[in-house]
Symmetry: C2
Subunit: 423 residues, 2 copies
């Protein structure tokens, strides 16, 4: 049996509940094409594993273990927050990557991440060609922030959106129960430092059959405190309660994050707080309503137990498509999700040139936000609704999700040199 | 068809993801015994609905709507935080309740709540007898805090425990992925102001097959900061990461809640914060580790989407048993869960005298907490494990749980007098 070159795969940046589903799709597709791809080496802790020649031999994992990645959240090989800079500043790192890839006969570079990793992926492709060891570089989109351009959505986002929509509906039922004598305002803080896609998902908790008063604070709309308080007041007077979904990236009119309000603890240390308690206290002080607040933080992006089936399927699909794209001889591409219709939702994978992807952020379009700045429009609903469709429950053992932990056996090093990772 | 007296049912205190399942069991059981129970009237917003003669006619709800209560979180009739005091101080309120019950021919009083409502239930029974209109009063246990005595567990707790165990496992997978270059410590704040049962459930995230370093801060154990920091440091050095589960009721050695650390915002207002950011900042300042923190708040007790099947079944069972108990002529009883064996878990319902229940709080026994004070013992695992067994997913529509909203039609008032609820 003729064996091809090896492939390198790495997970980058903040992990999601379905990034391993992309790894699953990719490794399964590669195993079906052993004539072209001998083995898949994963970077331990992302690109750092490549720089330090700390590669994981995924060939040591059983088919069952790889299949279980489909239902396992977070990064099974470890991820990292490590951004390679431009070729002028980080040339030694890029050259080291090519050296490691050459030593391990790697012909395919698959990078699973957000905007920064798309940029890195692009540079690997360019530099490897000029260094006489051309590597096919394909970017697999992943980000809960949903801020990559061209693709209809980013795997990882749909599941966070579902978690936030479900949690907002559930907590709203709770507050409604308590409103007569107790809590009237519930504030939920969600991720999204620059773009309000996740916050927007909170708006899905309300529907024609569920009249739930929701006020959303987007990072794209500077907070007008008085209008916000007036809106909350009107909703509480009409419904007896109100749910506020605030993005961690929500800002005051002076441009500062709500969460950076100079709070100090008893020792005078700056308090690293959340936006939710700030909003809750604002409401309390101005309107006197009893409140509760929650900060979902990692729970939202790790919540594989309530993942969107659509999202899981798309995550697997982009992993598989990356292999197909590479084997079709394409290079420097990002796999995309292409929406064919809203209802019924139909989609397929496509590709985009990395040159068009790198360092472009996609924000919520203004027509997705209601005129008052505190809600989502029907156009936004049409966009979001399909992305949270379907459940894809993991198997359970002893009452808990049976997530897989891989063996993560190292590949024997071949280089004599060590490389010190900067930062 | 001979018709019996009416029954009154009310939800009390903080709601749970399965309190409506108890309502479902109770109303279904009552509908099967229309010879004895003509109709079930629910209090709108709990006991306040009885005081103000604002009763809901559950007879107007379809069988399908009542069945849907089984999978709908929070209080479908509204709950309240309103504690009736002793007979000496609140006699007018008790007398008003009896007057309303008399006007509506109510022979059965079912009160679904925690310790305070058990006490109220007991007094209703006593007073109604002395007032010549004897009412059978049965308490249906409900509390996420799991702090009622005698019963093996309290419906509501198992589902919160499952949510916390699942979320702790998921977030731990996330942190482990990020630990190499980013977050090393994740802090999750959970409910439980006095008793550490919910915090203990975080310990279930680790198991023989899941070696996850977890440090739990119980309300029962005063925080020794130096030992805590040392423990976190050791875990991070060994595992590269650590997950901290902190109860909202965790206290410093001076007896103050961690969450009451005198933090102030930019305007000098006292900041109503959480314990999680306090713990996270403590770790950051002493050890320098990058952290993330989450506060689950209402999300944990409203999370019907990941309810424990055991808990749902017990919640339904205590509702049904309350009807059977009342029709069997018992009075002033609380329904209990009786554990017959740990593994396989076998249980049945029983009853306890309200005199033995009221105002007794059940804390974590010391033998459930490890010697170092930061973990759970095998005995605790044996107790907790069965309570999170099984999944009981709600139906979904458009990607969201299809929770029912009842019509909640009022019963025509019969009393000429209005009653002003105090407080």
């Amino acid at each position: 049996m003729a064996h091809g070159k090896n492939a390198f795969y790495a997970q980058s940046g903040g992990v999601t509940s379905v990034i391993n589903a992309s790894a699953c799709g990719l490794i399964q597709a590669a195993r079906e094409r052993r004539d072209k791809i001998a083995n898949v080496y994963a970077g331990r802790n992302g690109i750092i594993g490549a720089l330090t020649e700390d590669l994981i031999d995924t060939g040591q994992e059983s088919d069952a273990a790889i299949a279980a990645l489909r239902h396992t959240p977070a990064g099974a090989f470890g991820s990292c927050r490590y951004k390679l800079k431009g070729l002028d500043k980080s040339r030694a790192e890029y050259e080291r990557l090519i050296a490691v890839f050459k030593a391990h006969d790697i012909g395919y570079f698959f990078y699973n991440g957000g905007g920064d990793s798309a940029d890195t992926c692009h540079k690997i492709s360019q530099l490897s060609a000029t260094m006489g060891f051309p590597i096919t570089a394909i970017h697999i989109p992943k980000t809960v922030d949903n801020d990559l351009p061209i693709t209809d959505t980013c795997p990882g986002f749909g599941s966070v959106a579902k978690y936030i929509a479900v949690s907002t509906r559930e907590a709203s039922f709770d507050v409604r129960s308590m409103a007569k004598t107790s809590t009237k305002v519930f504030v939920l803080e969600v991720m999204g430092r620059h773009a309000g896609w996740i916050a927007a998902a909170g708006g899905l908790a309300a529907s024609a059959s569920h009249d739930i008063p929701i006020v959303i604070l987007f990072p794209e709309v500077e907070l007008d405190e008085q209008r916000f308080l007036q809106t909350v007041k009107e909703k509480v007077e009409r419904h007896e309660f109100c749910t506020v979904v605030v993005s961690e990236g929500a800002k005051r009119q002076d441009g500062k994050f709500l969460s950076e309000q100079g709070t100090t603890d008893a020792f005078g240390h700056a308090q690293l707080g959340g936006a939710a308690p700030v909003v809750a206290n604002l409401v309390k002080q101005a309107l006197g309503y009893k409140f509760h607040w929650a900060v979902a933080d990692y729970l939202q992006r790790a919540a594989r137990h309530i993942a969107s089936k659509t999202d899981v399927e798309q995550a697997v699909a982009v992993g598989r498509a990356a292999v197909e794209c590479a084997l079709a001889g394409q290079d420097a591409r990002m796999i995309t999700i292409v929406r064919k219709s809203d209802d019924p939702y139909r989609w397929e994978t496509g590709t985009a040139a990395l040159a068009d992807v790198a360092n472009v952020e996609k924000f919520m379009p203004r027509e997705f936000i209601t005129a008052d700045g505190f809600g989502i429009t029907d156009a936004c609903r049409r966009y979001l609704a399909p992305l949270i469709q379907g459940e894809d429950y993991p198997p359970y053992r002893d009452g808990l999700p049976d997530y897989v932990v891989l063996k993560n056996q190292p590949v024997t090093k071949k280089l004599a040199t060590e490389f010190k990772v900067g930062k």
